[in-house]
């Protein structure tokens, strides 16, 4: 267990609590070759030192008769303290009855006064320390059977020891992940997956050297490493990917690493690896970077996200989340006509101000909270449609977003119907936008859901078309009512021939499917004219209006009258 510590020339620390200076010196002199030794003159001082988080003690040698706070009182406090009770205590006394009573009170052994020979005392200290260290990890296996790396418990224990024995060294925490590992398992079999993990473990041992690194595999395809600090990680893992590819013949196995350099030893081991993992997960899918370094800003962003997650319920209850509407105009008539609107969410946080949807929507999509947001928007939009109908006698259909997580909710259909019925609008008034990439992910599942919704009378719009890599075959078979071309193509269509061609192509696809095409992000007259010529029916964008609050939207309805 102590191999690592010894390999680094590190020593366990013993706290000697004894009021007589000469006795402290005698003991210290006996132990100093094998241990780092700290001294306290009384129980109160010892307790203060024990609570100092930076230092961890492997053993306490405790005199029983002391002023200020007696040894017996201190022993009671140590054993009642969850943080300290794991430190073994050997009491030192010349009183026979005290030996028995202190053992009863939780002491692990005793040393008599006058002291035995140094050999005896050292042997007792060593035995007790060994006993405690074994006890703390005896329940688990030391090595991961597959990779030969340390298991989580042992890894933690070793990092903790590295901390104790060497407070001043600079260390880096690293988290490595095999991207899309489950795909490798599924496509090439578990045995191949296992072989790849083994190869990685071996390569890591070679990269970091057996004495200087500690690694563990906490779950499936994550590797944790705690290593001596290094300034550069340039190209360190490049060879690894190549080697894996050569070995397995699986192209592009990507290993990404998050590194938290010069860890702050005041924070817990878990936190250190949380930081490294945050950096690691930040470059998921980013094939341009193999290593990402943790930074304070990254953590701030993470804290900001946590805040948003925490505040979402309040935001809904206090109506800090509001729905804005952007008009969609039909352009094939002489004069553009208001046809419908898209509902877009806005968050005005009471303390943080306006929060960009680009910030919170991807976040809530990633953790499922988007469902809450979607339901809120559906309800708001439905009630708004009803309000406008009552006030102006016209119906403005509104498109709302339906996220991936909604699609797989078995209650989706009933939930929507309930909202429709509550607000007293028609099913076709609430149009449902589903992003193209959701179709690409699971065409079959999505088609089933879309079929059901359409059977109930809902109109389905495919959003962000052109960005989701749908196959042409799929497009011809999926049930949709509207095709929305992604705004990035519209923005560049008059500057870039390829984008223009793509827009034309989408118009043709829409024509083939016999559904209207909507162009998003239209900003100027030239785009409008070009789209009109191509046969695009509907236009949305700043050319007509930015998304506005419902009261401001009313002027568009009035203009139509």
């Amino acid at each position: 267990m102590s191999d690592f510590a010894y390999s680094k020339g590190l020593k366990r620390r013993i706290l000697i609590v004894e009021d007589e200076e000469i006795n402290r010196e005698i003991l210290g002199n006996m132990l100093q070759d094998d241990y780092a030794v700290s001294y306290a003159e009384n129980g109160a001082q010892a307790l203060e030192m024990l609570h100092e988080k930076k230092v961890r003690y492997s053993l306490i040698l405790l005199d029983l008769l002391m002023p200020v706070m007696s040894g017996e009182e201190l022993l009671g406090k140590i054993k009642a303290d969850e943080m300290l009770s794991g430190i073994p205590v050997i009491v030192m006394t010349s009183e026979k009855p005290a030996e028995v009573s202190s053992i009863k009170h939780g002491a692990d052994d005793f040393i008599t006064k006058p002291y035995d020979s140094p050999e005896v005392i050292k042997a007792r200290c060593e035995r007790i320390i060994q006993l405690y260290e074994d006890k703390s990890i005896i329940r688990s296996a030391e090595k991961d059977e597959l990779t030969g790396l340390f298991t989580r418990e042992f890894f933690h224990e070793y990092v903790r020891q590295a901390d104790d024995y060497d407070e001043i060294s600079s260390d880096d925490a690293i988290v490595l992940n095999v991207e899309h590992f489950h795909m490798i398992n599924e496509m090439f079999g578990r045995d191949m997956g296992d072989e790849i993990l083994k190869k990685i473990a071996n390569a890591l041992m070679q990269i970091f050297g057996s004495g200087m690194y500690i690694g563990c595999r906490p779950d499936a395809d994550y590797f944790y490493l705690y290593v001596d600090h290094r300034d550069s990680y340039d190209g360190l893992f490049t060879g690894l990917s190549d080697e894996l590819e050569k070995y397995s013949h699986i192209p592009k196995i990507r290993i990404r690493a998050g590194v938290y350099q010069n860890v702050d030893k005041q924070i817990s081991i878990d936190e250190r690896f949380d930081h490294a993992k945050l950096a690691c997960d930040r470059i998921r899918g980013d094939y341009t970077r193999e290593v990402n370094f943790y930074s304070r800003e990254m953590n701030d962003a993470d804290l900001f996200h946590e805040r948003l997650i925490h505040d979402i319920d309040d935001a809904i209850a206090n109506r800090n989340l509001t729905v804005f509407y952007q008009p969609k105009y039909g352009i094939q008539s002489e004069k553009p006509e208001l046809r419908s609107a898209e509902a877009l969410i806005r968050w005005k946080h009471p303390e943080l101000g306006m929060i960009s949807p680009g910030e919170f929507i991807p976040l809530f999509e990633s953790n499922g909270l988007i469902q809450k947001l979607d339901h809120y928007v559906w309800r708001e939009a439905a009630s708004q449609i009803r309000k406008w109908r009552d006030k102006f006698g016209v119906t403005v259909p509104v498109s709302v977003n339906v996220s991936r997580v909604d699609i797989y909710d078995p209650e989706l259909e009933n939930g929507l119907i309930e909202i429709i019925e509550e607000s007293g609008i028609n099913v076709s008034d609430l149009m449902l936008e589903i992003t193209e990439s959701a179709y690409a992910d699971d065409a079959k599942g999505l088609t089933d859901v879309a079929d059901k919704l359409r059977a109930r009378g809902f109109k389905i719009e495919m959003d962000d078309f052109g960005t989701g890599y749908s196959s042409l075959n799929m497009i011809t078979t999926i049930p949709i009512d509207v095709l929305k071309i992604d705004m990035s193509f519209i923005r560049n269509m008059n500057r870039d021939e390829k984008n223009r061609k793509l827009v034309e192509l989408v118009m043709e696809i829409a024509d083939f499917l016999k559904v209207p095409a909507v162009a998003e992000g239209v900003e100027d007259e030239s785009q409008l004219e070009a789209l009109k010529k191509m046969g695009c029916q509907l236009i949305q964008g700043y050319y007509f209006s930015k998304p506005v609050p419902p009261e401001d939207f009313e002027k568009f309805i009035k203009q139509e009258a």
Binding site: D19, E20, E21, I22, N23, E25, I26, N29, M30, L65, S94, K113, P114, Y115, S117, P118
Partner: protein, 112 residues
């Protein structure tokens, strides 16, 4: 200057004391030197004179521990006797013990 030879002559169990000090003579002698300056002796006398057996026991007990560790046998003997009497809070002429302790201590101090 106190020497190992001198201590042997004095009657200390030098072998035992040295072993406790990892056979480091200089270290052992330094500690012997130190114990002679220990305020505990004065405090023990003060406690006896103040007729405070609790304090006297505490001081005597402390001295006993240190002196035993250094194996200064001739000094240990009267201190140990005193500790046992004080433990039971026995009525005794403690000044007699104090004098014996101080006498044995002086013998050591004369070697300085």
């Amino acid at each position: 200057m106190i020497t190992v030879e001198g201590l042997k002559e004095y009657g200390a169990n030098v072998e035992e004391g040295l072993a406790r000090c990892m056979n480091n003579e200089a270290f052992y002698l330094k500690l012997v030197d130190k114990v002679l300056k220990d305020k505990g002796f004065e405090e023990l006398r003060a406690a006896v004179e103040a007729n405070d057996p609790d304090a006297a026991f505490e001081e005597a007990h402390k001295l006993k521990g240190v002196l035993a560790n250094l194996a200064l046998t001739p000094l240990c003997e009267p201190v140990n006797e005193m500790v046992e009497l004080l433990r039971n809070r026995s009525e005794a002429d403690y000044t007699q013990y104090l004098e014996k302790i101080e006498e044995k201590k002086r013998l050591l101090e004369n070697m300085l």
